[in-house]
Amino acid sequence: MIELQQVGYVHDDDSPWASRALDGISLSIQRGERVLVTGPNGSGKSTLAWVLAGHVAPTEGKAFIDGSPATESVTTTGLLLQHTRLQILAPTVAAEATRYNIDADVHRRSLHALGFDDSILPRKIDEMSLGQQRRVALAGLFARNCPLLVLDEPLAGLDRKSVSQLHAAVDGLPPSTTVVTITHDIEASAPLGTRTITLADGRLVTDSG
């Protein structure tokens, strides 16, 4: 399903500020796989997330989703950002579902799975805590029924109960949904993946798959 061929990414390419984030990454991820991507700070995890989600094209190599360039799947791939507030563009929780034409009942069920009740729907995004915003964003992504979800540090800012709810919600996704979780906390994220990829200095150093 996902195929990366010698993918490299250089930020600010062709400028004095050029900095390499990814170098020669080759891997394939099958439909329905649950993959953890880990590595130290600055190892290229988030850049890999952006490449997988189709938000940036690799500056070297090729990234494919179902045989087409990953950038063509940008509207059907779900990406959870580290800075969640920047991805929830609507003013309220209910309005965020409308943006993506999500069925109201599906959205409500997704919110319930992440520990909210219906009172959250009219709430303003800006009045929520970081953890609540993250769970709202996750609920929206899960309700969109995306074939590929890329979650960048989904556990950041979540309490233990919310982490458990997230684990259960990911378990409840259709088996065909591919989930790639970027994390620096491999222990807490372990239930989210069956395969672990480790990056260091932009290179793939281990792949348990």
Binding site: D12, D14, S15, L86, Q87, I88, L89, R99
Partner: protein
């Protein structure tokens, strides 16, 4: 992450422009800005553009420092130039059997020349000066204003934080724009645009709030680093800069 904005980003180097202190370069910049603003002649515009190009060469910065304008901006400029051409005015040129007035488009091109020239000077300052050196330079230049009651401490604190916030805010805007592309096609583009702008505004206000807390924490009159002694590079930049300011301010043809 995907931003191609390189405002106030330093490029390491050992050129005379790099070795000159921020004070000298900011003084020359102020002189050129005032000169060009009050005398926006073609010669002045050319002198400023020449300064930027020569600065890039002397500073060994490379063509890669020049920002790549987004296509929508280029399209908007192209459309505005068409309107400028349609507005006519002297001088006229004969095209076939009719006269075409170039006054509007020439005025517009000069406006673009002034705007981009000023932007280029600011970028040149940023490419050759560490951002941490700018607040002390501003503090030195504004020192006389404290005697007449201008709250320079607040201005410097705001400048310091604004310089630090610039890349963060630019990155936030780029991220919000990227997220807006994930929406299904269809629907009002105006509504989508408004949503992106409002989210970007919220993100900026939050950044501002965080910086406000930083000001509260450290106080308005936090000590600013001392500026280094004047050096030979400062002298060269000041002399050449003074000549340039004279050319820009006094060039005929405004």
């Amino acid at each position: 992450m995907i931003s191609r904005l390189h405002l106030l980003r330093f490029v390491d180097g050992r050129s005379v422009l790099h070795r000159a202190g921020a004070r000298a370069k900011v003084l020359v910049l102020i002189g050129l800005v005032f000169g060009l603003s009050f005398n926006p002649s073609w010669i002045s515009v050319g002198a400023v553009w020449g300064t930027v190009v020569v600065g890039i060469v002397i500073g060994r910065l490379g063509a890669g420092v020049v920002p790549r304008p987004p296509k929508p901006l280029l399209a908007a400029i192209g459309i505005s130039l068409v309107f400028g051409l349609l507005s006519g005015g002297e001088p006229f040129v004969s095209v076939g059997s009719s006269d075409v007035g170039l006054g509007g488009i020439l005025l517009q091109l000069r406006l673009f020349g002034v705007t981009l020239g000023l932007l280029g000077l600011t970028l040149l300052l940023g490419w050759t000066t560490r951002s941490a050196d700018l607040p002390p330079a501003a503090s030195w230049i504004m020192a006389p204003l404290t005697r007449v009651g201008v709250p320079t401490g607040e201005v410097i604190a705001a400048l310091t934080l604004a310089v630090r916030a610039l890349p963060l805010v630019a990155d936030d805007f780029a991220t919000v724009a990227a997220m807006s592309r994930t929406e299904p096609k269809g629907g009002s583009q105006i509504d989508k645009g408004m949503m992106v702008l409002s989210t970007a505004a919220v993100a900026s206000v939050r950044r501002a709030s965080e910086f406000g807390q930083a000001i509260d924490g450290r106080g308005m009159d936090a000590p600013v680093a001392r500026h280094p002694r004047w050096n030979t590079a400062d002298l060269i930049v000041m002399i050449v800069g003074a000549m340039l300011v004279a050319v820009v301010a006094l060039a005929p043809g405004a």
